[in-house]
Symmetry: D2
Subunit: 133 residues, 4 copies
């Protein structure tokens, strides 16, 4: 997924604020699922969320306002009760790798309790799992 750094996402250091990356990871996850034919909105409408339980980001190079960023998504683990994604953020114009990240998710129901990922989702994403880079 490609996006542009928004002005509102910059801070007074003149670069994208580190919390903005976390929002981009999520947006890229949603697009990655859509590319597989899976609607995260539909999952939420069924009452299942992929709650984030862990997050790691390594920031390597700053991104500036209006930079185009490619967020590459990779699925590292897909179980009915735990899913893990890995990400690479690349600045489109020069190919510089700006950040890497992982996020761990637990399927939860409307009450926030752990639940199982619907079988159809698990079947759809499991073949996408790739070994850690």
């Amino acid at each position: 997924m490609d996006l542009r750094v928004r002005f509102a996402e910059t801070d007074q250091m003149g670069v994208a604020h580190h919390a903005a990356y976390v929002v981009w990871l999520e947006a890229a996850r949603v697009e990655w699922l859509r590319d597989l034919g899976l609607s995260y909105r539909a999952l939420e409408d069924q009452g299942v969320s992929l709650a984030v339980t862990g997050l790691e980001v390594r920031y390597r190079a700053a991104l500036r306002f209006d930079d185009r960023v490619r967020v590459e998504v990779r699925l590292e683990e897909a179980r009915s009760r735990r899913v893990r994604f890995a990400y690479r953020l690349v600045r489109v114009d020069d190919g510089v790798r700006c950040a890497e990240a992982t996020s761990v998710h637990v399927p939860t129901d409307r009450a926030g309790a752990a639940t199982r990922l619907p079988a159809a989702w698990l079947e759809a994403i499991r073949p996408q799992v790739t070994a850690t880079a």
Copy 2:
């Protein structure tokens, strides 16, 4: 309500981003209600929200990271189907008025349809209405 400008709320102009003010108005509204003994969280738990239908902000002086800001709240209108607040943002350290704002709200139910403000709320807030400054 007093708050500090967070670093994440700044932008590359070196000042608080104009969208951050909108979040502060909301936080100040919640505190203003709490001071009256009204919990906005409890209202939401009952299924009633004060959906924002109109917003106006006039920005007069920039706020910087770590500035202390006082958000003064005033109720301008309180009807069962429409509530309007006015705000003044003052920088605490020098008393400079940095912004003014108004917000208009319509009580809505969980489905997002217009509803009436609970009678107890209306009774509690109505005496607070003051004429436009």
Copy 3:
């Protein structure tokens, strides 16, 4: 400019939070300028910002997570010391007009003092001014 409502932009009412719209207006402004061949990033790099001095939003219909939103931008006023934009937010899938907005801007220098819009910018945007709808 078209965008998708991000999950992070929703709130517990299940719709896009009203402050997110303010960020979208800005992103759409930047794209509108880019379509004219004007880089807002380059303007900032020259030391000139279009500081927001006024903002009005009228919210008409809620937007949900993953909704596609078209932000239509129109220039209402273009003077060397004051620029005003108007906006319409339309949900792409059903054409519903979800919000309207205006923003007023004053060119400022790095110190935040009012300045003049560079002549090249004024010439480029002035022919785009359209009467209030």
Copy 4:
């Protein structure tokens, strides 16, 4: 540092969005430094930033709108070219530990290049280093 979960920080799952925690960590860091007599704003004004190069968050229990959150800050490492903080987020009303986090920082100059932490800062924070919990 104590704060309240803002409405704008919730998402449609009805809890605080995971990116909001990252903003809270930063706010708590700034207060922790202030308690030591160090102004992060003054450091920035001198041209030195504590750029975030690494971030880890483990989310344990959800936080809701209006919950009071205590962010406990601990310094784990303080060198002239690298600083690491650890955090615990505790819900004030019931003492539940809701999240833990660490952040790694590199002092950078205005151009974003790595630099040394001013000696006065290093002397002030070094005695605060505590072993990993």
